[in-house]
Symmetry: C2
Subunit: 403 residues, 2 copies
């Protein structure tokens, strides 16, 4: 029996010893922010038990963010995870250990985001959007099946789960408006996504088969989107203010090492791919996501349905010589499955606002209203029939400031 | 007479005492990288003379990058510039001063780039591109005159002037290609731009009239662009790999404080603007740029012709609540004037490759060839009839790596 007496830390629980996600917590019990590992419903800060690690690891885990861990690279990540597994499954606590209930700690964004890239890799999402906005054309654009479409987002507004979402002001122009109007977005939406946190030495031209060497872990992302701002601004250079006001990322990063049982092949693309995008062993991942809108389960996006894997995304992102830095974050794009109740945005769930979603309390919704809360969670298959958990990414909408 | 005996430091020279741009230099004479000011054809590192500043300033100027200076904010920027002006115009050198010829120092990227945003604010450039790519439609899209169109670029590949430009590999698909092909870009281009380096406290919703409080200085930018990659990838989310391989920025940042005589009003937009974009006193700037292709002067882009000012760009970028951080860099977009010899990209100068540019040695060019060097410089009106200089941004094209 582990010294950690938390029923949520059982091997049959999503945050049992098979998962061990990393975060950064603050607490009056601690001398400043501390790297921590999540064990069930508790945080185990690592600085107080740094003496239980090798000197090399002690420096990394004693820090106030995951930045040094990310920079250290995969051999160190594996060594750290192995030692952590020993410590949390031992019969007695390491000297100095402080086990803090999750409800009594404050989570911080666990790493410094270097560059943030957002992809668009769900065929169902891309087709749904295409059908709504280009009803007369092919729902999928010709480049989509040849490369993972993506763009850069704003790193400075990536925030930790739980941060309030202030409704953005901006310009919009409906088809009947003679001129653009300025004010609070009236089509505020979510995008349920999966984010990948990168590390290791600064590099470039990451081979698609070497991608796992550079991906530290996985965290859920909500890429809040103002659809009315987006529709007006996005031609020809892409989304800008419609996305840059806030992007939420989960407080706990599930290590890629925990996901060896979750690997799946993505659906066939239907055309040949360039060599640099062909994986020997695909890095699709079988995450089962859930989206809750004010506590109503409104969608179960299946990440296994994504057409492009994180390895293909990473290889594409760096094939032009662009450098990859520790702290780079890239997200999958909205995860939407083939079924209506598998869509990862409210734009799709309400079909452009035409088919309201009815919540459990009878309230109807198309886009987000002030006061609404959205929570996204996920699980994946773990070793020996276990389940690996992904910490929630959540946010509550606050009214726009008076412009 | 100043103790600095450099004819290039005269008041009638672009890098005289009216300019005083900031950079970071390395030299065997120095104990690591040092913040420096450019005086004529010399660098004056500030760490060796930190004792000549107040304690508050000494900490900032003793650093190995401009990051702390940027974070300090405008009152400190003004105090620092005033003290520097005293020191460089005095009759005797401050104790410990080391004056290093520019040819004997190595320039480093002078600050840590937080987020990088690229605008698209030349009406002539946008119209030229529109005419080439949408010959049957209105050259300007309907949103262009209502908001400064922009997008996020890759901060991690912003490099200092002089860094080699490795030709990117990527996917392209010409109109006659049955499928995309992969290989070195065959339409490698420049974009002659003006960059704005931000600082001060982290903030948001910067009022258009308060923009100067948050803009530390101005540096020329070359936003290298692979037009063939761009044409294939950019729908619907904008340019990505076509731009992210490299963006060059000048080694010396000309303070905004040096440009009080260079302010001009931009050309009239022709329609009403939203209140948040209306400036009491426009921050257009009369920079006269020069683009040299292998030493041939091929273009003189007039920055005063830009339709959107840096103040409007900054107000727009933050009106949705997006935070502004010290180290944020935004660029104007390609600067093109109304005349053919005022265009800021080779795409425009060669009209999509149809009208080759003839260099002084008789060589013809449409897009960049391996070994080509491009140098962009600029000047602006200074006080008392002087001229304020902008350090060059340059780069030489190297062959693509074997894919």
């Amino acid at each position: 029996m582990s010294w950690i007496e938390d029923p949520a830390f059982g091997a049959d629980q999503p945050f049992g010893p098979q998962t061990l996600p990393y975060g950064v917590v603050e607490s009056p019990e601690l001398d400043g922010p501390a790297v921590a590992v999540r064990v069930g419903d508790h945080a185990l800060p690592l600085r107080p038990i740094a003496g239980s690690f090798s000197d090399r690891l002690a420096d990394l885990v004693g820090a106030d963010s995951l930045d040094a861990v990310l920079a250290a690279g995969r051999p160190v990540w594996s060594e750290l995870r192995a030692r952590l597994t020993e410590l949390v499954t031992a019969g007695s606590a390491p000297r100095g250990a402080k086990l803090l209930p999750l409800g009594e700690v404050t989570n911080r964004l666990p790493f410094t985001v270097a560059d943030y890239v957002d992809f668009y890799s769900s065929r169902h999402h891309a087709e749904n959007v295409g059908r709504m906005f280009r009803p007369d054309g092919d729902p999928l654009l010709p480049n989509w099946t040849h490369l993972p479409i993506g763009y850069h987002g704003r790193a400075g507004t990536v925030v930790v789960s739980g941060t309030d979402v202030v409704r953005p002001n901006g310009q919009r122009k409906g088809p009947k408006d003679p001129a653009p109007v300025f004010g609070p977005s009236i089509r505020l939406d979510i995008e349920a996504e999966v984010g990948f946190v990168c590390g290791g030495p600064v590099t470039s031209r990451v081979s698609v088969n070497k991608a796992p060497e550079h991906i530290f872990g996985v965290a859920l992302v909500n890429d809040w989107s103002a659809r009315d701002l987006q529709a007006w601004e996005y031609v020809p250079l892409g989304p800008f203010l419609a996305k840059s006001f806030l992007t939420s990322v989960a407080a706990w990063i599930t290590p890629l090492d925990a996901l060896s049982q979750a690997r799946v092949a993505p659906p066939a693309m239907g055309n040949e791919l360039q060599d640099y995008l062909v994986e020997d062993r695909p890095l699709g991942l079988d995450l089962r996501m859930e989206v809750r809108w004010n506590d109503t389960l409104v969608s179960r996006p299946p990440f296994a349905s994504m057409a492009w894997t994180c390895a293909q995304q990473l290889a594409h992102m760096t094939v032009n010589g662009a450098t990859l830095r520790p702290g780079d974050l890239f997200a999958s794009g909205t995860v939407s499955g083939p079924e209506k109740n598998e869509r990862g945005s409210f734009l799709e769930l309400s079909w452009g606002g035409k088919e309201p979603v009815v919540l459990d309390d009878g309230a109807e919704r198309t886009f987000l209203e002030d006061g609404d809360t959205v929570v996204i969670t996920a699980t994946a298959p773990g070793p020996d029939g276990s389940v690996v958990g992904f910490a929630e990414v959540s946010g509550t909408v606050l009214p726009a400031p008076v412009a």
